[in-house]
Amino acid sequence: MVAEATPTVPEVEGSSLRVRGASKRFLTPEGTEFLALDSASLEVGAGELVSLLGPSGCGKSTLLRLIAGLDEPCEGELFVGTEPITGPSASRGLVFQDPNLFPWLTVRRNVESGLVARGVKREKAHEVDEYLRLVGLEGFADSYPHHLSGGMAQRVALARALINHPKILLLDEPLGALDAFTRMKMQDEVLRLWEARRTTMIFVTHDIDEAIYMSDRIVVMTPRPGRIERIIDVDLARPRQRSGADFLQLRGEILELMEFSKHALA
């Protein structure tokens, strides 16, 4: 039993993702249909970090739930590698804005719960400490979630998702509830985890700076009906400078694009 400082992983742990013409309609309480996502198509390479950027109601969370397998598309298909998505799976981890830690379990048991759910707790129990160390919370293993700050709780949620070695990690505004400073720190944290693991990450956000700072590509989405407006490559060297000229230029371009979408709306 040799525990190593960081988990040993293959070069690229992630899988590619293919979304083909996925639509999702919901029934409103008044009985009318509401088109939350209109034939979205998207290809994500293995190990890529892609942001879904847009205002609320643009269908970014809907798309994420389809990828997670928690909802089924009304039309279209989704594939991980060559496998069609038919339901939720441990290979597609999900982290929400609210960490949603199980409040009745300690930090350790929360991280462990993926192992328990998959029935591999006995073989992999030693990994729990590894992942606690990975997110820097080894000192809080026996604390209950209500003792943790927002940033700490979100780290636990990340460790809980990562311990399952997901092929794709889905992040639904994971840093949205944090204050600006914690948020920037956690962005680096997520990037560190991504670089160490090369898990494919789909990162939902409504923060343009965050999207530029983090992603390889940005999927800009617009509301009513929710659809993919444009996909932008972010060709900036990492680590990125938040106030660099090229950063700010890209920011301006995206802002203009979103303004344009607003005109299109009106």
Binding site: A68, A90, N100, F102, P103, L105, R118, R160, N164
Partner: protein
């Protein structure tokens, strides 16, 4: 019988001092907790508060000896021993309070309550033995109640055991069935469709309304009592646990699904733990109705237990025994309630600071 009246009013005035003393002790006590800076006055206040208990006991004892001249000597002796015991304990606490750290805070917290309790006993004694304001035999003096408790302790003890046996049997059966049906109704749509109308229709009927049917259905009164208690417990436990299960936060279930959870994990490791606060509410409500049903069932069918003892004592107009069984019930039921509270605090330790009842 004839001697007490002249002395009684004077004693009554004397008796008014313990609650007064306790009030005096309460006031500065709160101030001292707000300003812990000065040590010497705080110590003297602590002394005063600790002294209130033996003082109250001494006054109550004096009162008792003064007005109980015409009462049976055995009764007087037992009650004097009781008050004397409290007096002794109070003096012991007074002497030890600066040596044992926990004792002092305990006294500070509980002295006013204890003094009030002693005062209440003294008032009851003035009303009954002293002024004879209440008709006998329905309202015996505290001394008489204590005496009948001491005399009939064997019977009370066996009755308590019988009640405990019935209660545990009925309660655990009710909790078990209630949890099973509650989890089913809360989790499965089909179980909810068929179970909910039954629950809504049958549940609100007081379990005691089934007594005639239970006596016919079951071979023995014991069986029928156990099943009546179980029925009384089943309803609130089912209701509250199904509500808890069906209100499980959807995102907990979503997260668990993306962690690879199957239905078993979702039910036993997400929904049930999430419903625990609600389940405990059901357990508390169930325990309350179990006490009620127990006492009623014992008075009608079962020929043992505290409820039976109470009814039997009443038929013989031995009201001392009636009250002593009520006192035993109070101690017995509240101990069980306290036990359940302790279990809850243990199980819901994760909730501390979040929600407090």
């Amino acid at each position: 019988m004839s001697s007490p009246p002249p002395t009684a009013p004077a004693r009554e005035v004397a008796d008014a001092s313990p609650p007064d003393a306790s009030n005096e002790a309460t006031g500065p006590g709160h101030v001292s907790s707000a300003t812990p800076g000065t040590a010497a006055p705080a110590a003297s206040r602590s002394w005063r508060r600790a002294a209130a208990l033996p003082l109250a006991a001494a006054l109550a004892l004096g009162l008792h000896l003064g007005i109980s001249g015409g009462e049976p000597p055995a009764e007087t002796r037992t009650y004097s021993l009781f008050l004397g015991g409290i007096l002794g304990l109070g003096l012991l606490f007074l002497a030890l309070q600066f040596r044992i750290a926990g004792l002092q805070t305990w006294i500070r917290k509980n002295a006013p309550l204890l003094v009030a309790g002693i005062a209440l006993l003294a008032v009851a004694e003035i009303i009954t033995t002293g002024l004879r304001l209440l008709p006998l035999p329905y309202f015996p003096s505290p001394a008489k109640i204590l005496q009948s408790m001491v005399e009939d302790r064997g019977m009370l003890w066996t009755s308590t055991w019988h009640s405990l046996f019935l209660l545990l049997g009925g309660y655990s059966l009710g909790v078990l069935t209630g949890l099973v049906s509650g989890v089913c109704i809360g989790w499965s749509v089909r179980a909810r469709y068929w179970g909910m109308p039954l629950l809504k229709f049958v549940g609100p009927i007081p379990a005691t309304a089934w007594i005639p049917l239970a006596l016919v259905l079951f071979p023995s009164a014991l069986f029928s009592a156990v099943s009546l208690i179980a029925l009384a417990v089943w309803f609130p436990v089912t209701m509250l646990s199904s509500a808890g299960i069906s209100n499980t936060k959807a995102s907990y279930l979503d997260v668990a699904r993306t962690l690879g959870a199957g239905p078993r994990f979702l039910v036993f490791r997400v929904a049930i733990p999430a419903a625990m606060p609600n389940i405990f509410l059901g357990l508390f409500m169930g325990l309350g109705s179990a006490f009620l049903t127990l006492v009623v069932a014992e008075t009608v069918g079962v020929k043992s237990g505290l409820g039976w003892y109470l009814g039997w004592a009443r038929e013989w107009a031995e009201y001392g025994k009636v009250y002593s069984s009520i006192v035993v019930m109070a101690v017995f039921f509240s101990s069980i309630m306290t036990l359940l509270f302790k279990v809850r605090d243990r199980v819901l330790v994760w909730q501390k600071g979040a929600i407090k009842w």
